[in-house]
Amino acid sequence: MKEYVIELHNVKKIYQVGATQVFALNGVSMSVERGEFIAIMGPSGSGKSTLLNMIGCLDKPTSGRVIINSVDTSHLSDKELTTLRRDTIGFIFQQYNLIPTLTAFENVELPMIFKNVSRAERERKAKELLALVGLEKEINRKPKELSGGQQQRVAIARALANNPSILLCDEPTGNLDTKSGKAVMDIIKNLNIEKGVTVVLVTHDPSIAEYANRVVRIRDGMLEE
C-alpha cells in the first residue's frame, strides 16, 4: 500500500479583490508519496506558491482539505499548525530568509530552540547539519558575511534541524548563479535519495525541475498533468 505524506482534496483559495473574486487555487487535488521528489511548475501568478503555502500549513484553504501525514489540518488551531510546521516541515525560501542578527550556527539552532531541544543536542545537530552542507568553517558568520549560495545552504541546514519528513522549497535557486544553484540542488537531491525526505519544489526553471521524479504543472489555479 502506498503511503501518502501529502494529500490535497479539491482545495480552493479565493481572494476577494474589490468586487471580483480571484481563484488562486481552483479545486486542486493531488497526493505525494513518502520519499517522492516533486517539482511544481507554472508561470508566475499561476498559484504555485499558494499551493506550496497550503502544503506548508502557512495558509488555510477557502474550501477543501489538506492532509499532512494523515492529519487533516483544517481543524487544527494556530498552535497545532505551528507545531506541525516545526516538527514535520522544512522550509527553503527563494530569499533564504535567515535571521540577520544570528550566526549561521544560531540560525540552524533556532528551530530546535522553538522545540525545546537540549543545548548539547542542539550543538551537536547544528554542527552536523552545517558540515552536511559544507559550511563547517563558516558556523560563526552572520548571514551578511556569507555569499548567497552559502546562505541558502545555511537555510537548508536550518530546514533540516528538526528532522522534517517534508522539505518545501520555493524557488530555492532563484537568486543564485548556476554553480551555487547546482550545489544547492545536489544537496537537496542527496537528502531525498539518502535520507528519504519528501521534497516538493516550486520552480519555473526546467533544468531545476529535472531533479524531480515527477513534475506537476499548474495554470490558473488548476493542475494539468
Binding site: 503555502n53 505551528t82 510546521r85 535571521i99 542578527t101 544570528l102 522553538f114 536550518r158 530546514a159
Partner: protein, 374 residues
C-alpha cells in the same frame, strides 16, 4: 537565547534604542529624585520631633466646663503606672517689666527638673528657686541678659538662663515664655494646673495610659482631655507623603513620555521585522514566543534604563535637596532609598506596558502575510 536574540535586535539600531532608553533614564531619575526630595523634606520638618512620639498632653476638658486641672487629679495621675516622666504645668499671662520696657508674656510654673528635661539653656544654667528662665524671644524683646533682674507682676526675679531657640512645640512655645518655680508661681497667683505633659515608657503604653485616665479620672465625667503627640506626628507624616506623591505624579509625566517613545520604536521595529516574524512563525515559533521576544526587548530597555536612572537619581535628589533644603543628610536614608526602588519599578512597568501592544501586534501577524511583506 531569546534574551540574546532580543538584545541583538536592540543593538541593530543602537542610536534608536539608546534614545528610547534615555527617556526611561530621565523619567526614572525625575520620579526618584523628587521622591528622595519629598522624603528629605518630611524628615527635615519632623526633625527634633522624634523624641516626642511618646508624649501625651493632658489638658482640662473645656467642653465640659473645666478650665484647669486640680491638684487631686494631678496626684491621681501620678499614680498611674506606664508613666516615665511627668510634668505638671501652671501658666498665667503676666505683665513683665525690665528697666523701661513693659509687656506681656506667658509665665509657666514648673519644677526645675521639668524645665531641664524639656529645654536647653543657651546661656547661663537653669535654676528656678527665686530665679527665672526666659525664652530667647523674650530675652530679645526686653533686652535681658543672664543676671538681669526682671519684674513679673511686680515681683522681682533674677534671670538664671536664656533658653536656646527652638522650633515650635505643640504644647508650649518656649521662645516667648518665662519659667519660674511652682512655689514662686503659687506665691504670685492662686491657680490650678493648666496642663500636664506625660511621657510614657513605651509608645505601646499610650493606650494603657489613656484607659487608666478614663477609669481613674474621667469615670463619672470627662474632666481632662488627652492629646497624643504621636497622632499629630502621624498626620504631618501623612500630609508630606501626599505632597511627595503629588510631586512624583508630576515627574511621572516624563515617564509617560518615555513610555510613548518606547511604544513608538517598538511599533517601528515590529513593522521593519515583519518578514522575520513570518519566517520564525513558519519554522515553528508560537505566537507566545514572538510575544516573549518583543516583551524582552522592552524589558531590557526598561530595566537597563531604570537602573541607570535610579543610580543617577541619587545625584538628582542630592542636587534638589542642596538647592531647596541646603542639606542632603537624608538623601541616603533608607526611606529615601526606597523611592529609588519605586522609581525603578515604575520605569520597568512603563517599559513593559509600552511594549505590550507592539508585542501583541507582532505575535498576531498571520505567518503568510508576514512572509509576503517586503
Amino acid at each position: 537565547m531569546y534574551f540574546e536574540l532580543a538584545r541583538r535586535n536592540l543593538m541593530r539600531n543602537k542610536a534608536r534604542s539608546f534614545l528610547a532608553m534615555l527617556g526611561i533614564i530621565i523619567g526614572v531619575m525625575a520620579v526618584a529624585s523628587i521622591g528622595i526630595f519629598g522624603e528629605s523634606l518630611k524628615a527635615t520638618v519632623l526633625e527634633g520631633f522624634e523624641d516626642v512620639a511618646n508624649e501625651i498632653i493632658v489638658i482640662p476638658s473645656y467642653s465640659h466646663g473645666y478650665t484647669s486641672i486640680s491638684k487631686e487629679i494631678v496626684f491621681k495621675m501620678e499614680k498611674i503606672p506606664y508613666v516615665d516622666k511627668y510634668f505638671p504645668i501652671k501658666s498665667h499671662q503676666s505683665v513683665v517689666e525690665y528697666k523701661s520696657k513693659k509687656g506681656y508674656s506667658v509665665v509657666y510654673g514648673m519644677e526645675e527638673d521639668s524645665v531641664e528635661d524639656l529645654f536647653k539653656a543657651e546661656k547661663g544654667s537653669i535654676r528656678l528657686k527665686g530665679h527665672c528662665v526666659v525664652g530667647s524671644g523674650v530675652a530679645e524683646r526686653f533686652g535681658v541678659r543672664v543676671g538681669s533682674k526682671i519684674k513679673i507682676d511686680g515681683r522681682e526675679f533674677r534671670v538664671s538662663a536664656i533658653l536656646r531657640e527652638e522650633g515650635a512645640r505643640f504644647d508650649i512655645n518656649p521662645n516667648n515664655a518665662i519659667f519660674i518655680s511652682i512655689d514662686d508661681f503659687n506665691r504670685l497667683y492662686d491657680e490650678e494646673y493648666s496642663m500636664v505633659i506625660v511621657k510614657v515608657k513605651d509608645i505601646s503604653d499610650i493606650e494603657l495610659f489613656k484607659e487608666s485616665v478614663d477609669k481613674i479620672i474621667n469615670s463619672r465625667e470627662e474632666k481632662v482631655s488627652i492629646f497624643e503627640m504621636r497622632i499629630i506626628l502621624e498626620r504631618i507624616d501623612e500630609v508630606f507623603k501626599q505632597v511627595t506623591i503629588f510631586l512624583m505624579a508630576i515627574a511621572g509625566v516624563s515617564l509617560l513620555v518615555a513610555g510613548v517613545s518606547i511604544l513608538n520604536i517598538m511599533l517601528m521595529s515590529t513593522l521593519e521585522r515583519t518578514k522575520e516574524i513570518g519566517v520564525m512563525r513558519a519554522i515553528g515559533a508560537y505566537r507566545e514566543t514572538i510575544l516573549k521576544i518583543f516583551l524582552l526587548e522592552a524589558l531590557i530597555l526598561g530595566i537597563t534604563g531604570s537602573i541607570i536612572g535610579g543610580a543617577l537619581s541619587l545625584a538628582g535628589g542630592y542636587a534638589i535637596c542642596m538647592i531647596v533644603l541646603q542639606s542632603a543628610k537624608y538623601v541616603l536614608a533608607p526611606s529615601s532609598i526606597l523611592y529609588i526602588f519605586e522609581g525603578i519599578l515604575f520605569g520597568v512597568a512603563t517599559a513593559l506596558l509600552s511594549g505590550l501592544y507592539p508585542a501583541w501586534k507582532a505575535s498576531n501577524l498571520e505567518p503568510i502575510e508576514a512572509l509576503r511583506y517586503e
